[in-house]
Structures are given as structure tokens and as C-alpha cells.
């Protein structure tokens, strides 16, 4: 098999931080190489060197035997190295239509003509869309599309560049199962055409579906290479974490008194109303695919949007929060999803990010008490195992997993009645995910915890009970037990289940 890209002895430091410590890696043509690594292992830095964002301090990269050191992303792209980044909005231009987005590199090409030829542009864009199985109106504006469609466009756009080495950084993180399948089909096609693919992900289901080989990174080095006809997935996870994965069964919590109730709640116009009760000490995972109504429940309880219909009760009293501030004052906290947009204050240090909602509790006649703030932050840092130099580090210097820990710590630092965690494991590595999960479970006494997750395995990992939603309707509630998993799965994908009525009767009374 031809070697597409050879990386040898790459070193990269940012200030005193040695991020890459002599990385050696070979990427053969016509092969999908999966790169796994915890956050902070150096994956992103390696990708940025390959795609021309950073320069390596030492070491060489060769592309088909020729020396390759791109000065800029466009340089890398000219040489046939194409990257689809994790942040979707860097890959699309929201104000343009789909066709222009797909053909944007053609437009930016200096040899292109001065005037736009819309029909020709659209015809070519349609061709690209067809090869990708992209079922979209190419005249639609990208800003009107969902996250998943945008991601597919970003990937399709990369295809127009005729890549020799295609790098995908967590491309499925916002795709539905069907869309992911389409992507995998496409990757298989490209592989047959001889493209070398570097695929970065920690999703085991993706990895099982497409990997030809697995390379793991840890602490800035390659920690394992797994090859051959049958891949050792367990071994890869161990090599990535540097420790054995423990599948501990959860000790289910004893439920306390009821705290919060939804009565005759309706999430969308055509769904049927349902009741739900949340008890003290309990962790309830609310799962469902994109658009299943998870966000509607979370925003209603946190005072962002009222329920379409129905009532909410807190300690048996009617509860109608006017704003997040109102909800917080009643002990209802929410850690929102998409931390970089909704949670992280990037100009602030860890301490100020942590205490942001509770500044009034740490001030005297509006004057802040810095000692109190720092004490609060250091406690959370040690409880959650946040990796940092001190509590005064800028939050943006932390890796994604550690940033998420800060955001979780923000809402665990004060006592709550109901804690809503919307996608708490989004974009975090397995180690951070376990730290966060165990801290949530340890602290769950005396409150009801609602965890909103799209991934079923995350729900199974953390919850006492699992609620399944499907397209705005309530489908069922289950105890988190081995023999319920099959039922949960079938409801999750929208299939009716015989045990449904039974489940409702036994658990939601």
C-alpha cells in the first residue's frame, strides 16, 4: 500500500507547554486511520500542523515522498490536504446559499472569472450534492438549515477540493445516525479512490463502523497503533486513557420525596400531554434524538420559554419562572449545552467563570469578596479534578473537557433543588466524562437531577431512570437496568413497544 503521508519527529510547544513530543505517524493511501485521544492529548495540534495553521518546532512531514510544510491553510489545500474542522460554523458561510457554500473555493480561486454565473454555479453544486447524496435545496440559505445539514455541507465542500489526504475532526458530533451512515458511505467511496483519511473521534460506534486502523495519542505522543484484520478496540481505549476502562454497575439511588412535577405537559402541537414526577436523590436521564423535545422541557423548567401547555409544580406549589434569574433564586439550575456559546465567558479566569451566577452570594453591599470566590473555585477544582496551573488561569487555556468541568462545577458549587444538565458530556473525552459523571452522582443527594442527552450510552452511564422522548411526545420511563435496554432502544428510535403501557403504569404513578 502506498504511503500518503509520513510524519516524523514532530515537536510543538506553546510557551512552556510541550504539546507534541516527537510524534511519528504514517498514513497509508486508501485507508481510514482513526486517531483517538483524550482532550489535551495533542490531536488538534497535530491536525493544525497538517492543515497549515501551526508550524512544527521540529520534525518533518512528507506527502507522497515530498517535503510538506504548509505555510497556511490554503497552502495545505493546494497540496491536497483537506480538513473538516469540528467547529461547523468555520466550514460554512451562513448568509450564502447552499450552492455558493459548496463552490466557495472555486469562487476564491484567482483564476475564476470576474462575474458570477449563477446557473453554472448551481449546476456544478448540484453535481457535488449528488455525489454526496446530499438531499438539500441548493438555493436555500445555510443559516436556515440545521446543524446536521451544515455539517454535511462543510464535508461536501471539502470534497470539491479533490483531497489526497482528508482529515475529519469529530465530524459526526452533530449528525443523526442516518446522516452519519451517509457520511460513512461517502468515506468508503473516497477510500476506494485512494484517498488517505485521518478520522478523529472518540465515538466507539463510529470507530467500529469505519476504522481500518486505530492510532491512539496520549500526552503528546503516539501511545498505540492497532492494525490488522480484527481491531482491538478495548486495547485502543486502554492505550488512549493509559488505564483500563471500568464498567462498574451503577448503585441505583433510593428515591426521596417528590420535588418537581410536570402535569399535562405538551411539548409540541401534535404531541399528547404527559405527566412526570422527579424525586429527591434521583438522576433522571431524558433522552431522545434531535428534535425530540428535550430542549423544550429544559427551557420551560429554567424559565426561558413557557411550556406549550401544562403546569409545573415545585414542592407541590405552582411554579412559573419568569426568567433564568427567577429559576435560580428558587434553586433550579441549568448547565446549558454548547458551552462555548452558552456558558464559557472566554475573557474570564476559572474562578470568575465558576461563580458567575452566584456573585450576589459572594458580595457585601455589591462589593465582591475575592477570597470567597477563590475558595469556592479551588474546592470545585479539586472535586472535579480540573487540570490547571491555578484557579486564576484563563478558562480558554484549558482543554475542552476541563472547560466543561468548570461549567459543571459552576452549578454544583451551590445547593440546588432541581439541577438540569443539558448535554453535559458534549465534546469531552472519556476521562473527563467519567470525572463529571461520578461528581454528579456523588453530589446528587437532596436534589432532583435531570440530564438531557441524545446518546443512550451516556444516559445508561449516569442515570437512575431513563425517560425516552420521541418527536415531542413522551414515550416511556424506565429504570436503568440491563433488561430494560432493549425496550429503551426501540422507543428511542420511535418503534412502539408492548411494555410501554406497563412501564408508564409502574413507574410514573
Amino acid at each position: 500500500m502506498e504511503l500518503a503521508c509520513q510524519i516524523s519527529g514532530i515537536v510543538k510547544s506553546f510557551g512552556p507547554n510541550r504539546v507534541l513530543k516527537e510524534v511519528d505517524l504514517e498514513l497509508p493511501s486508501a485507508t481510514i486511520t482513526v486517531l483517538m485521544g483524550a482532550n489535551g492529548a495533542g490531536k488538534s495540534t497535530l491536525v493544525k500542523i497538517l492543515c497549515g495553521v501551526h508550524n512544527a518546532d521540529a520534525g518533518t512531514v512528507t506527502l507522497f515522498g515530498e517535503n510538506f510544510s504548509p505555510a497556511s491553510p490554503s497552502d495545505a489545500f493546494q497540496s491536497g490536504v483537506v480538513t473538516v474542522h469540528q467547529t461547523i460554523n468555520n466550514g460554512v458561510i451562513p448568509d450564502l446559499d447552499v450552492a455558493s457554500n459548496l463552490m466557495i473555493d472555486r469562487l476564491a480561486d484567482s483564476s475564476a472569472g470576474f462575474f458570477l454565473r449563477t446557473e453554472k454555479l448551481r449546476a456544478e453544486a448540484r453535481k457535488v450534492a449528488a455525489t454526496m447524496d446530499l438531499d438539500l435545496d441548493i438555493t436555500a440559505e445555510v443559516k436556515d438549515l440545521g446543524l446536521a445539514d451544515r455539517q454535511m455541507i462543510a464535508i461536501a465542500r471539502a470534497m470539491t477540493r479533490k483531497p489526497k489526504l482528508l482529515i475529519l475532526d469529530e465530524p459526526t458530533s452533530s449528525l443523526s445516525a442516518n446522516e452519519a451512515k451517509r457520511l460513512f458511505k461517502l468515506l468508503a467511496n473516497l477510500k476506494e479512490q485512494g484517498v488517505a483519511i485521518l478520522y478523529i473521534s472518540h465515538r466507539m460506534s463510529d470507530i467500529r463502523a469505519i476504522a481500518d486502523r486505530i492510532v491512539t495519542m496520549r500526552d503528546g505522543k503516539i501511545s498505540g497503533i492497532f492494525d490488522g484484520p480484527s481491531l482491538d478496540y478495548e486495547g485502543a481505549v486502554t492505550a488512549m486513557l493509559g488505564q483500563k476502562m471500568v464498567h462498574g454497575k451503577l448503585q441505583l439511588q433510593e428515591k426521596g420525596t417528590p420535588i418537581f412535577e410536570l402535569r399535562d405537559a405538551k411539548l409540541s402541537k401534535y404531541s399528547s400531554p404527559f405527566d412526570l414526577v422527579f424525586y429527591k436523590n434521583e438522576i433522571i436521564a431524558i433522552t431522545g434524538l434531535l428534535g425530540s423535545g428535550k430542549t423544550a422541557i429544559a427551557s420551560a423548567i429554567f424559565g426561558l420559554n413557557p411550556l406549550l401547555e401544562g403546569d409545573m409544580l415545585l414542592h407541590g406549589e405552582p411554579y412559573n419562572p419568569k426568567s433564568p434569574a427567577d429559576a435560580i433564586s428558587k434553586g433550579i439550575f441549568m448547565c446549558p449545552k454548547d458551552r462555548s456559546t452558552n456558558a464559557v465567558v472566554s475573557d474570564f479566569d476559572i474562578t470568575n467563570n465558576m461563580v458567575l451566577p452566584f456573585l450576589d452570594r459572594h458580595s457585601w453591599f455589591s462589593f465582591l469578596k475575592p477570597k470567597n470566590l477563590e475558595r469556592k473555585a479551588t474546592v470545585s477544582i479539586s472535586e472535579l479534578g480540573i487540570v490547571c496551573q491555578s484557579e486564576l488561569d484563563l478558562v480558554t487555556t484549558l482543554s475542552g473537557g476541563n472547560q466543561q468541568k468548570v461549567m459543571i462545577g459552576r452549578w454544583l458549587s451551590e445547593k440546588s433543588e432541581v439541577l438540569l444538565l443539558d448535554e453535559p458530556f458534549q465534546g469531552v473525552d472519556i476521562k473527563a466524562r467519567r470525572d463529571i459523571g461520578s461528581q454528579i452522582r456523588q453530589s446528587s443527594k437532596d436534589r432532583a437531577t435531570l440530564v438531557f442527552v441524545a446518546e443512550l450510552d451516556e444516559a445508561v452511564e449516569i442515570a437512575d431512570k431513563i425517560v425516552v422522548l420521541h418527536e415531542g411526545s413522551y414515550s416511556g420511563i424506565f429504570e436503568n437496568k440491563e433488561n430494560n435496554i432493549a425496550d429503551i432502544l426501540s422507543l428511542y428510535s420511535g418503534k412502539p413497544s408492548e411494555t410501554l403501557a406497563e412501564a408508564r403504569g409502574s413507574l410514573n404513578g
Binding site: 433564568p324 465567558v345 470568575n352 455589591s366
Partner: protein, 334 residues
């Protein structure tokens, strides 16, 4: 600490120190308490306006109307005392209420009507420049002027009002420190305390960095944004009162440079101590920096028409400090 971060942090302060030393040696009479006080006095009014605009920059806004709020306060105070023949106290209160009201309207335009900040305050600037000319048909206000009604304005600037602009306190030397300098320092300390040490200031910085996140942390984002514009309006009206007290008449042509000078001071402030963000201390230093440079150059016989060029150059250099050298600027560049 390596060279680079040292340069980013202290570079601008060292540059200021170097300038002071340079002028002390080269320009005779530059070093001395009277000259120092003169510098402070020359920047006190722009400094006060700049501190207000800093508050709006903190919430990631911008107030272009400060210059016109100040000149409106100038005309309003003259009108109240000279034409309406009311007391100095009434004049001051009227100006402060006017400033707060304009700030409130700016805030509501931005928060409720969703007009972008630059456009809302640009509109307000235009409106005020026009409004202040209407009562006197475009003429300056002074005692003995002929009013549109045909009568003669008989009111005078009261001594206590003029005291605000002209009195000097003894401080080691007789008649050393002018009242406007004291007020500049007081406003500076107040804004600094508010932005750095109170939870309100902290939340305003949070809003400037990530508005959505701050709202989801339970802060009333709209209230704080409006508050920032009210602060800006009030400080601008204080600047206008002091300008009026210094001039002793409602001069329609005064204060043309106020907006640009004070915005420049606030932006230069980004570079001080490597803050790379709006901050009260930096703003005050930024204003002083410009003052030192102009005073020194003037004493070295640089002609007056070079002043704007000098200010502009300082601003450009400060912006390079902020955005090209510091890591913050780097981050936002890609």
C-alpha cells in the same frame, strides 16, 4: 516573565515614563507641579467622558453620543442660568437628568428596539447637535444676548457655578489644583471601583465577553446594558457642566473634539498593563498620555495643527500594542 509579556504589560507605562523624562530634559519648564497640573487640567474633561464610554465598551457597546451630550449640557446649563435666570444648583441637576435620560433612551434603543449600538448613538448624536441649537436659533448664550422673543437675556452665570470650572485648591503650593481635576480623579476612582470590585462591574464584563452565557447564568443583561449607557450619559453631562463652568458662556462651537479625544483615550487604555480590554485605570492613563505628549510638544514649539496627528498616531500605536502583540488580539484574529 519573558520579554514579550513584559513589553505587553508594562510597555505603555514605560513609554509614558520615558516621554515624561524626555520632555523634562528637553523642554524647559516641563518638569514641575504647575506644568503637571496643567496636563491634568487639559485632559480632565475628555478623561471624564472617556471613563463613561469605557462603561459602554465593557458591555461590548459603544457610545458615540457622549460629545453631543456634553455640549448639550453646556448649552442647557447656560440656558437655565442666563435665559431662565435660575440657580447654579438647578442648572447642574437639569444637566445630570438630561444626561441620564439620553443614556436611558440610548439603552432602550439598543436593547428594546434592537438598533445596533453605533447606529443608535450616532442617531442620538445628530439629534442632540440639532436640538441644542433650537432654543436660541443657533446662537451662543451669554448675558445680554437678544432672545428670539425680542427680550434681552439678563441672567448671569452664578459664581458658585463658575467655581466648579475655575477654582483652584491649595495643595502645598497656593492655588494649585483645579476643581475639574479633582472631579476627574473622583469619577475615575468611582468608575474603577464599580467596574473592578463590584458584582455589577463583573457581570458587565461577563456580558461584554459572552452575552448569552451571562443571561443563562441568571443576569439581567438588558438592565446592565441600559445602565452602562446611563453611566455614559451622566459622565458626559458632568464633562459638559465643567466645560460650561470653565467657559462661562454657552458657546455653540465648543466641544467639537470631545468625542474623538475621549474615545481615543478609552481605546489607548486597552494597551495599559496589557489588559486588552476596556478598563478605567487604562482610560485615565490613556487620557494622561495624550495630555503629556501634547503639553511636551507644545512646549517644544510644535504648532497646534499637528495635535490631531499626534493623537491619531498614539492611538494607532496603542491599538497595535493591544491587538497585534497581546495573546488576546491573537486569539480573535482567527
Amino acid at each position: 516573565m519573558n520579554m514579550r509579556s513584559f513589553a505587553i504589560r508594562y510597555g505603555f507605562l514605560l513609554l509614558l515614563l520615558g516621554l515624561v523624562l524626555f520632555f523634562s530634559i528637553v523642554a524647559e519648564g516641563f518638569a514641575g507641579p504647575r506644568s503637571a497640573v496643567f496636563i491634568f487640567q487639559s485632559v480632565s474633561i475628555t478623561g471624564i467622558l472617556a471613563l463613561g464610554v469605557t462603561a459602554t465598551l465593557v458591555v461590548d457597546g459603544f457610545d458615540l453620543s457622549i460629545g453631543s451630550v456634553a455640549t448639550t449640557a453646556l448649552m442647557l446649563s447656560a440656558y437655565v442660568m442666563v435665559v431662565l435666570e435660575m440657580s447654579a444648583f438647578t442648572a447642574i441637576i437639569a444637566c445630570l437628568i438630561m444626561g441620564a435620560f439620553v443614556g436611558l433612551v440610548n439603552g432602550l434603543l439598543i436593547v428594546k428596539a434592537r438598533v445596533p449600538d453605533l447606529l443608535a448613538t450616532l442617531g442620538m448624536m445628530f439629534l442632540l447637535i440639532g436640538l441644542q441649537r433650537i432654543p436660541t436659533e443657533g446662537r451662543s448664550i451669554s448675558t445680554g444676548m437678544k432672545l428670539p422673543s425680542g427680550e434681552t437675556a439678563e441672567g448671569v452665570y452664578s459664581q458658585s457655578f463658575l467655581w466648579l470650572g475655575r477654582h483652584r485648591l491649595d495643595f502645598f503650593l497656593e492655588n494649585l489644583i483645579p476643581i475639574p481635576v479633582i472631579i476627574f480623579l473622583l469619577v475615575g476612582v468611582f468608575i474603577w471601583l464599580f467596574l473592578e470590585l463590584t458584582r455589577h462591574g463583573r457581570l458587565m464584563y461577563a456580558i461584554g465577553s459572552n452575552e448569552t452565557a451571562t443571561a443563562l447564568a441568571g443576569a439581567n443583561v438588558n438592565k446592565y446594558k441600559i445602565l452602562a449607557y446611563v453611566i455614559s450619559g451622566i459622565t458626559a453631562s458632568i464633562g459638559g457642566i465643567l466645560l460650561s463652568a470653565r467657559l462661562g458662556r454657552g458657546d455653540i462651537a465648543s466641544g467639537n473634539n470631545l468625542l474623538l479625544d475621549s474615545v481615543a483615550a478609552a481605546l489607548i487604555g486597552f494597551a495599559v498593563l496589557g489588559a486588552a480590554k476596556p478598563n478605567a485605570f487604562g482610560t485615565a492613563i490613556g487620557a494622561l498620555f495624550v495630555g503629556v505628549l501634547l503639553q511636551g510638544l507644545t512646549m517644544m514649539n510644535a504648532p497646534y495643527y499637528t495635535q490631531d496627528f499626534v493623537k491619531g498616531s498614539v492611538l494607532v500605536i496603542a491599538l497595535i500594542f493591544t491587538f497585534a502583540l497581546s495573546s488576546k488580539g491573537r486569539k480573535t484574529s482567527h
